[in-house]
Symmetry: C2
Subunit: 330 residues, 2 copies
Amino acid sequence: MATIRDVAVDAGVSVGTVSKVLNNLYVKPGNREKVEASIKKLDYRVNTYARGLKAQQTHTVAILIPDLINPFFAMLVNDVEQVLAALGYRLLLCNSHNNADRELAYLNMARQNKVDGLIALTYSNLDEYLEAGLPVVSIDRHFSRQGICCVSGDNAEGGRLAAQQFIKTGCRNVIYIRNGSNLENETLKRGQAFLEACRKAGLSAEAMDFGEETTLQKEGVRRIHAFLEEIVRDGRCEYDGIFASSDVHAAVILKKLRELGVSVPRQVQLIGYDGLRVLNVGDYVVSSIEQPVQEMAVACADVLLKLIEKKPVESSIILPVRFVDGGTTK
Amino acid sequence: MATIRDVAVDAGVSVGTVSKVLNNLYVKPGNREKVEASIKKLDYRVNTYARGLKAQQTHTVAILIPDLINPFFAMLVNDVEQVLAALGYRLLLCNSHNNADRELAYLNMARQNKVDGLIALTYSNLDEYLEAGLPVVSIDRHFSRQGICCVSGDNAEGGRLAAQQFIKTGCRNVIYIRNGSNLENETLKRGQAFLEACRKAGLSAEAMDFGEETTLQKEGVRRIHAFLEEIVRDGRCEYDGIFASSDVHAAVILKKLRELGVSVPRQVQLIGYDGLRVLNVGDYVVSSIEQPVQEMAVACADVLLKLIEKKPVESSIILPVRFVDGGTTK
């Protein structure tokens, strides 16, 4: 029976493109027709892919993610579920809520072979907890264990795009505000590339780190508020450009700046990260670096299935990002 | 070994309250201390609940939901996962994307005993597809099969609260705009109670139905736009109050009204449904009827576990809602 890979080869496209067609996601003009023709020609049926695998498999994949409160995570899980379902896999949702014990319990479950693979957005040290045999795809994080593929948006490019916006609109004094793990990971490149590009262009560029929480919680919001009260005096802000490590941060910053009487973007420009929209259907919440959520989901599923089939995979897949204007930049 | 129910009895609170303490959710002052004392006294350990059940169980529950794009669904799934994880259950995420075939495939899986229970937000006819033995909790929908408990917010009260807001601020001519299934379900009460209360108070009150889609998609947005272009002429709207069946609808309506030069709330007041906030952390997106998401999640998990234990359950649980001011009402 034909596999999804046979369809891809026959149509002359990637497996990711076939996944997208099966899931009714956007593909380049012409590709849908090619894929549909190959599906018909080869009499490909969704699920034959999964059925061909050995019997002890559970056809279940776990996704380990901080929570679904941040819409970026919710959209990513939504798309991963859609792609995996079309390939005959079920998705176990494992929310860590930044709780190390809970994360460990989930990793334990994965290790005990109750899932065929794991997609993880985590800052725990997977190397310690996972057996070498378990197929793992990591989002935004590298691990030393061989064979874990890292899928991420192009964080360095994201940082540079934010810098370019501030540079070309004449900012002089900018700051990067972040939350999150300081362990070696892809998202650190956002700030590094941003600061480097700004400084190279002669701007004064600083960084402010608000700690390890992946999800912004009450204490994190309080700290950001206190900091903004420090840098804003009588409606004047020390900085004319603020780059935040997520749109959730940027939304918190935007609200507080306006409460403090600062006009955005006239006095201060603000750029977030992720490219989130109001209720996921409206306008961008802030100007932002938009992450390719659908592409990341397709890549995660595609690589994980290759690993389950014991095929070689790339050690990392970096996908393009873009700047989007959400009204908080000039 | 002590069960969660033993803890509840000892502390003199409901199982739901114990779940909330275990999950660090809000409980009434004093209850946390009582529950923690009972946990200590009885040496209760999370998971003993699950371990006490018979061996053929999978300790896996499926949640069938349209998608995670609407933040109301994402928040609900987030909270259900949190409560179930604390009780030793894993959550399979089943997104239907309003696709009947996909829904059927998931119901099939549930029927084949691969999960211990099902939490479903669906408009398919579960009666046809599920065996009588499978524990099912339904959100917002009643089914004829015995033993399916329906958990929902108080939709009739939500409709009346919206009507009260329009009545007390002097609206004369209001409309209810909705999407969604027309099968008998709890959410229909939103519009029914709203229209009845408005008419009783002497307002002109109409309803506009935009079809069956549970999730607002491109075609649904286009239809709403076309309708608004019809009812707005030269910046004047035929109605002075619009009540929408979800915040996602209300956000689409708000944006279009502003594009058409209508001032909200000065000329037209707008109320949505769900009580969603910008990126789930900021201000309310619109004035709305806030649903008790955490309480609904706790009730779903609590009732499902009772069903799994073959204990009697309520046939419906209706939880309180409240009006929240999001700046689109006077």
